[in-house]
């Protein structure tokens, strides 16, 4: 598994999801903390391309041998791409949660929602409880 990291350029959702904003699109994934709590991911069931996701709502699930975890959308929009490689190698979510372990790419419907997300300092503070 990867070392514990929280890249400063990402925005974070309190349910341990991240968003990498790129113009009017964003990639989503789960944080190092989330994948560590879950254990080795053995199954990821992506949403369909074209599906609508809503901020703060679950849009898919990741599963380890023992547990199922909901994945929450940090922002609202329409899924424009899903990480197909994860169907054969879901462990990439553990190995590289911010890179090859990305889950979906979304065209944002309300970019102003970004303001409600946490920056890295706020997210780290949340983890420290």
């Amino acid at each position: 598994m990867a070392e514990e990291t929280y890249p400063p350029e990402l925005k974070y959702h309190p349910e341990h999801d991240w968003a990498r904003i790129d113009g009017d699109e964003a990639a989503f994934g789960i944080t190092w903390y989330a994948q560590d709590a879950l254990g080795e991911v053995v199954f990821y069931d992506p949403p369909a391309v074209g599906a609508t996701v809503t901020a703060n709502e679950s849009y898919s699930e990741v599963e380890s041998v023992k547990a199922v975890s909901d994945v929450f959308a940090p922002l609202s929009g329409e899924v424009v791409a899903v990480n197909e490689a994860l169907s054969d190698t879901p462990e990439r979510i553990n190995d590289d949660p911010y890179g090859e372990g990305w889950l979906v790419r979304v065209r944002l419907s309300d970019p102003a929602e970004v303001e409600k997300l946490l920056d890295v300092d706020a997210y780290r503070k949340l983890l420290q409880g």
Binding site: G39, E40, V42, F43, D45, V65, K66, V68
Partner: protein, 357 residues
Amino acid sequence: MPPATQTLRRTPLFDRHRAAGARLVPFAGWEMPVQYEGIRQEHLAVRTDAGAFDVSHMGEVETSGTDAERFLQRVLSNDVSKIAVGGAQYSVLCREDGGVLDDLFTYRLADDRFLTVTNAANHERDFAWFAEHAEGFDVDVRDVAADYAMIALQGPRARAILEGQLEGEAPARMRIVTARVAGAECLVCGTGYTGEDGVELLVPPDAAPAVWDALDATPVGLGARDTLRLEVCFHLYGNDLSEDRNPIEAGLGWCCKLDTGFVGSDALRGFEPQERLVPFAFTDPGIPRPGNPVLVDGEPRGVVTSGSHSPCLGLGIGMAYVPVDAATPGTHVEVDVRGKRRRAEIREKPLYKKEDG
């Protein structure tokens, strides 16, 4: 809310688990390691090499006296008279109506002395059941759970590891010997819960850390213990067995010898099950979980009792109670996994065979 940590019991190996970075979880009133490095790696270590499991949470009941055999014949479902001294036997403990109270291994230590290993969650109830039914028999039934820690050593290299620490002969499968392991006098049992060769060691609690340290095997938590047993379709009490199911439905008729007159045998005589516990494997992606409905011809007619990802087969597997007309291997069913229908096929036991790997 989970129970407070201080109310949980700890095994003599607790400090070892913590030092090894295990993830500790509440299990049947005990604080137990669910995983160390990861369930998949631990699972595969047992299939290809060797793993050591702390199963000290399991309980033990000793039954001795002139009527020990006759008494156990009354409470246990299998034919206890068939256990030779130094032998082991699997059986279930039934209520009068056939409902299963526990599944257990019994070892014959001497002609008139037996040791029965209980599931942690059932231990107190089992002991009370034994004590209650002992009336009229010349037996002494003792709760000896505090006298034993228990370490399972399982996998193709388990015997070689054991032999390096053992003074004396290792037991054959389904046999027990008393022998010194890493200097401590242990009961060494040729049994296990993984489908691999190996032993289970009943160890004096104060010697358990030294025995654990002497065994050069991957530490394995309860997570992999569950996936290992599920691949070979061993029952888990509380999932696949309960008071609401009888052993015939559960596919354990083979260890119920009705002629011995055990408690529950009258209810099981002539019983025709409407449902059976069967193994299945997904032909779709996904992972079945306990409680998921099983659909036969689109109708919910069964329920998953154990379900997980199989590290060896790389797919979703499980066991489910289904109607007898859908219980034949090769039958196609669906499992409703949180609203998504996943195709599955009823399979033969075991789901994983050595040659598959």
